[in-house]
């Protein structure tokens, strides 16, 4: 189906819960309210006109006013692609999980929790994936500061090239 037909069908079913939708950019996307995410996901997977059975990826982005969590889905039979986004606030980023609808989302959501701090409700196994188990902080946020020491290892190395570059920049000013 073409992107505009796809968006028409989805808006006809769930018109109230969709905050924004567009196909003018590079890929068609919809922005959904966090409470209606699971109903829309079941519809997208099972309906005969949609049949989205392949979850390509799922990630999170830190835009400074809010945190965004999104996933990209594709259909093998009908060959169309859609991006589904959810907007969350910084203080308490919580959203429902889709790991029982598409099993591929399991590890992607664990990675988002590890690197950005998004908590997924009812996830079967939510713990850190990439960083060590006793790491403090979520590294991919825009205002993250690197600690100086970890387990008696010094994490700073003097870089002589950087010192010369900074001196030249100061001289130019």
């Amino acid at each position: 189906m073409k992107p505009s037909e796809l968006l028409d069908v989805i808006e006809a079913e769930f018109g109230d819960f969709i905050l924004e939708s567009s196909d003018k950019g590079f890929d068609p996307y919809i922005v959904v309210e966090p409470d209606a995410l699971r109903d829309i996901s079941f519809f997208l997977k099972d309906d005969e006109r949609m049949k989205f059975d392949f979850l390509r990826t799922s990630l999170g982005t830190d835009k400074i006013d809010f945190i965004e969590s999104l996933f990209v889905i594709y259909s093998y039979e009908l060959k169309h692609q859609l991006i589904v986004k959810v907007e969350l606030n910084h203080k308490n980023p919580e959203v429902d999980t889709v790991a029982d609808i598409w099993k591929a989302a399991n590890w992607y959501e664990r990675e988002s929790y590890d690197l950005l701090g998004i908590k997924y409700k009812d996830h079967p196994d939510l713990r850190r994936l990439m960083m060590p188990n006793d790491w403090v902080g979520h590294p991919l946020l825009k205002d993250y500061k690197q600690p100086k020491k970890y387990h008696d290892m010094d994490l700073y190395r003097f870089n002589p090239v950087l010192k010369v570059v900074k001196k030249k920049a100061k001289k130019k000013k």
């Binding site: 387990h151 290892m153 994490l155 190395r157």
Partner: protein, 167 residues
């Protein structure tokens, strides 16, 4: 002759020392420890064209049977504890070669939050090989330099002490 009581330098001990060092340098075995892209060049260096086996150098899979370790690849913070444990398990006398710029100083990934900037923060290194990744010819040169270092070691003789001048 026991190795704990080192002797003064005389003709017999020096010749024995040279023979012992020659047999040690001609058969160094390394621990196969490849982390990232440099591991593929280490594998190709053991392959048909640049053959490391002609120097007597073969790979072993366990640290208890190895003479030296090739750290090839980026050391991350999560992996650093394990590298230290492997280094402690190797028996004396042992050496270490740091291969590639990621393990020399952190390399391309210096700005990352999870990369240890240089492996010499946790273990002492004998030879540094620059490159990203270094060619197999550079690896051969590193092994030849290590052999020279092994040849000059004073295994049976006492170390010479220099007189410190009174200030």
């Amino acid at each position: 002759m026991s190795f704990y009581h080192k002797a003064e330098s005389n003709f017999l001990v020096t010749t024995l020392d040279e023979v012992l060092n020659y047999t040690r340098k001609a058969s160094l075995w390394y621990l196969f420890f490849g982390l990232a892209c440099c591991a593929i060049e280490m594998m190709q260096a053991g392959g048909p064209r640049t053959d490391l086996d002609r120097f007597g150098v073969v790979f072993r899979a366990t640290p208890r049977q190895a003479d030296f370790i090739f750290i090839a690849g980026t050391p991350t913070i999560k992996m650093a504890d394990r590298i230290k444990r492997l280094w402690d398990q190797m028996p004396d006398p042992k050496y270490a070669i740091s291969m590639g710029s990621c393990s020399n100083t952190g390399g391309l990934f210096q700005r990352g939050y999870s990369v240890l900037n240089g492996i010499d923060k946790i273990i002492p290194i004998d030879v540094y090989v620059p490159g990203c990744p270094p060619r197999p010819e550079a690896l051969t040169e590193a092994i030849l330099i290590l052999r020279e270092k092994v040849q000059k070691e004073k295994f049976l003789r006492k170390e010479e002490t220099k007189l410190v001048e009174e200030a």
